[in-house]
Amino acid sequence: MTRSIDRRTLDRLVIDCLPETLRFAVRLTGDPETAEEVVQEALLRVTRSWKSFRGQSRFRTWLLRIVINVFHDRFAAGWSGRPLPEDVADRRAVDPPSDVLAKELGQQIAARVSMLPPRQREVLILTAYERLTPREVADVLQISEANVHSTLHVARRRLQREMAAYLTEE
């Protein structure tokens, strides 16, 4: 029978996972300040439910699940998309340098990923950036593995369409 972890181990695990958790929250919300709020709330939930963690999954995936639940509770219900970043170089301006264009493209992609519908966003970020396997993603999101694959497929197609439209704008 698995046992819950002790307080000292919990402390160590939380501190170790904090940087990547914050990074994940930034990708999920698209905004660093909001991400910090989400992680703060998630840490409070950890203090309330840490005894229920019995090592059935990795601690990191358990923590990511809590972050996603906080995100859902606070934002997914009222998700309506956010405007794209405005402080980007105008591609039609006089010959911006290539590094500026590359930075703009990177920001555009990030913004569009963070604007995907919540479930597609979660699946894409967890697979592409958190490097979780489909089984781990299914475990975090409490869905089937088949659902992970089909949602990922839909998310990628959507991004491809949006980026193709963006890149062919003249």
Binding site: D11, G30, A128, H149
Partner: protein, 387 residues
């Protein structure tokens, strides 16, 4: 068709999306964010909470002790008069007669080295031995891989030549290494064409896992592979995805196949979606038409749906039960009517049935004063729900 390996952005993947995803840059959090979060955790962590509790307990105990010490002089008992109190002396303990062992002269005894075990000893493999083991293992692995590749080639060729080949028999020797076969198929399918591609997709439907879903979804978009891909997808897709495929499908035969998959699945979610198809006028014919295709329809689940909270689901389940053939079903329905258990729904099912005993019971019910109203109400519901 795009590569199905689309889980991780790889710089050398052919899909530009992977390169874009790798280049995505999010705004950086404030450099003090992490510090703030660490401080927040230290304030709220359970370890800290326990430390604080212990500190409070210790402080409370110390306070009590201090109070007790300060109050003691006022409550100390009177000092007894030494002239009157009984003498209490410690008794002398007689010597035991045993002497204390003297320390041995010279230093501690030397520790003898353990004898070697006769008959050989274990040791780390040398570098040469490690290389030799690895070569043998790789050779074995390569020959196994080649064997399965050959089996797969043969299976694809056979299925392409004769699409009526029994897939179960064909896939049997390949099931043992289905993960390996899936990987091979995912690599090869984009480079095959014609009947071989269709055959490979059929095999992927039998042997593949969730990883094959993106490629199968893509294959649904092409006319030559659409049917095979849809059926392959239906074997492992979620009920909601099958519903979407069935609604979008224009080929009536394929639509029925997809609806049949839902009925055959034997789970509540799939059956619930199937009943939606029965309920809907556009898909009712297809849904009821597959009843004879499914060997083992979910009869118990259907009886369970007679108690559903949703009226439309109860009626649809009743309609399906009525269409299913079987004396046991009719007997159960009759018992439900007579026992007044979901009477309306059971009566709807009997009205929809073509079995002789159902028809005889309905005739009897029409003339039975206690059941007439139920018959008329059920007739009305059947007509209005399924016109």
């Amino acid at each position: 068709m795009t590569s199905p390996d689309d889980l991780v952005p790889q710089s050398d993947s052919r899909d530009p999306l992977d390169a874009w995803l790798g280049d995505a840059t999010w705004p950086e959090p404030d450099r003090h964010s992490l510090d703030r979060l660490r401080r927040h955790w230290r304030r709220v962590s359970p370890r800290r909470a326990r430390q604080q509790r212990w500190m409070m307990i210790v402080a409370a105990a110390a306070a009590c002790l201090l109070v007790a010490l300060m109050a003691r002089p006022w409550h100390a008992p009177p000092v007894s008069d030494p002239s009157t109190s009984p003498k209490q002396a410690v008794r002398d303990v007689p010597p035991s007669g045993r002497s204390v062992a003297q320390p041995s002269e010279g230093g501690p005894q030397p520790v003898h080295a353990p004898k070697t075990v006769a008959g050989g000893c274990s040791r780390e493999p040398t570098l040469l031995e490690q290389l030799a083991f690895r070569m043998v293992a790789n050779r074995r692995q390569a020959s196994t891989l080649r064997q399965y590749e050959q089996l797969l080639d043969a299976a694809i060729a056979q299925l392409a030549a004769d699409p009526q080949t029994d897939l179960n028999t064909l896939c049997q020797p390949l099931h043992e290494r289905s993960a390996l076969i899936e990987e091979q198929l995912l690599r090869r399918i984009p480079h095959l064409d014609g009947q071989k591609q269709v055959a490979a997709i059929c095999l992927l439907g039998r042997l593949g896992g969730p990883r094959s879903i993106p490629l199968l979804s893509e294959a649904c978009c092409y006319e030559s592979t659409h049917a095979a891909a849809v059926l392959a997808l239906a074997r492992r897709a979620d009920p909601a995805d099958i519903r979407r495929l069935a609604l979008a499908e224009t080929d009536p035969e394929l639509k029925q196949e997809l609806v049949a998959v839902l009925l055959a699945r034997q789970d509540e979610q799939s059956l619930g979606i199937y009943l939606e198809f029965v309920r809907s006028r556009q898909t009712r014919q297809a849904a009821l038409g597959v009843l004879h295709r499914v060997e083992d329809p979910p009869v118990e689940l259907l009886f369970g749906f007679l108690r559903s909270r949703r009226h439309s689901q109860r009626l649809a389940a009743a309609r399906v039960l009525g269409c299913l053939d079987g004396p046991v079903i009719s007997q159960r329905l009759i018992a439900m009517v007579l026992g007044n258990v979901n009477r309306q729904e059971a009566m709807v099912a009997l009205l929809a049935s073509s079995r002789l005993e159902a028809a005889e019971f309905v005739e009897h019910a029409r003339s039975d004063y206690s059941l007439t109203a139920a018959v008329h109400a059920a007739q009305y519901q059947l007509r209005s729900a399924f016109q």
